[in-house]
Symmetry: C2
Subunit: 234 residues, 2 copies
């Protein structure tokens, strides 16, 4: 019997590409920078996985995602030949773009409905601060912030899923991981969690080729978060 649902957030619940591009557009306009905001958002996000890998491989102690995002922001600005274009205060503000991401249209209502039956929590790589302020911005009614900051490691390391389950005082089979990413679900399943998938076919823009279909026989396959709520609450 499932008692809690834990969610991937970036891509699954919120549209990071649009949100970061919108913030980049505003920052670039303010500083008379000529660069494509969507390209910038994609380049910034491209550094996400390698920056966490250094921690997952234990070459570096855990630092939270806000620290990685800031380092990746400066590296991305260098890539765009924009080093020095933003002062420290502007960089600090720009880094909070990740707290201002729009929810997908079905997310808030779907989560609100699921919250009436289950505990709902994040199992994201985001920090407590990032997840808390993002939830307030995007109106996401989480019961708890779990994931990386609880485990002090990054998905898909198994301890991130197991620490999130333990933090709720539950057993793995009582918790379902919800994600639009097959890799995230595969890692959760290896830890004994239940799994639910729906695609977010424009997370990476109109030409997306990945995660359009379930790659395994996940416990639930839905069309979106609203549809998942329909199935779980029926």
């Amino acid at each position: 019997m499932i008692k809690a649902l834990i969610f991937d957030v970036f891509g699954t619940v919120v549209d990071w590409r649009t949100g970061v591009a919108n913030e980049a557009k505003a920052v670039f306009a303010e500083h008379s920078i000529h660069a494509d905001p969507v390209d910038f958002a994609v380049a910034w996000r491209a550094q996400y996985a390698p920056s966490m890998q250094v921690i997952r491989s234990q070459s570096r102690s855990y630092v939270d995602l806000d620290v990685l995002h800031r380092e990746n922001l400066e590296a991305t600005l260098a890539e765009f030949e924009l080093t020095g274009a933003l002062d420290n205060a502007a960089l600090t503000r720009f880094n909070r773009a990740w707290e201002k991401l729009p929810a997908w249209p079905d997310s808030t209502e779907g989560l609100t409905r699921l919250k009436s039956r289950f505990a709902i929590a994040t199992c994201s790589n985001g920090s407590i601060a990032l997840m808390t302020w993002l939830a307030k911005y995007a109106n996401l009614p989480w019961d708890a912030i779990l994931g990386a900051p609880v485990a002090r490691n990054y998905k898909p390391e198994p301890e991130v899923y197991t620490a999130s389950v333990s933090a709720l005082g539950l057993n793995p089979e009582e918790v379902m991981m919800v994600a639009a990413h097959n890799g995230d679900l595969a890692a959760a399943r290896k830890c004994g969690l239940k799994t639910a998938f729906f695609a977010r076919p424009t997370e990476h823009g109109p030409g997306q080729t990945t995660d359009l279909e379930p790659a395994e026989n996940w416990d639930y396959v839905a069309t979106d978060l609203g549809d998942l709520a329909d199935r779980l609450l029926k």
Copy 2:
């Protein structure tokens, strides 16, 4: 400018004495135990502070409050000459009494109103599990669960307040500690947080003599959580 409010929970937001006594009454009836449920609740709670002190003094590594509650439950049963009266499953269920505490009548509405302007989080000694399930039971709309589980230490150790502030990415003066306990506020103030007090004059029952009045010039002194919301939102 205050951006977040962090709350003591047991006593300040919920009525632990009534909640634990109600659960004790049910357990005692089911097992034909003749003991006073309110006396039992008070005796169980009396072991709370000394059990944490062993951890605060670093004589013992951090374990979460559910573990301490369970140990204290068995000690309290011994004190009432009830050792062996409950099997392991019954003890496990009884220990979850702390997740079934009624909110004071003004708590849910006051928190809901405050949530529209501020981040609201727990800064309790309770575990993430305890705080999450209690919030679902008592309808407490927290944005985040902070406090002891984030710091891996117990209030009033300063790191519990400072770790809670840091977890939100804020500075101490941007965060206000809200408590019905002067000692909790004094510890938070020493860490640079703002402070808000209201009394819960029946937390300890009809004869309560402690924390009936503010002991220092706290930043806000209200009559209850609803009144605090009135003052902060005006």
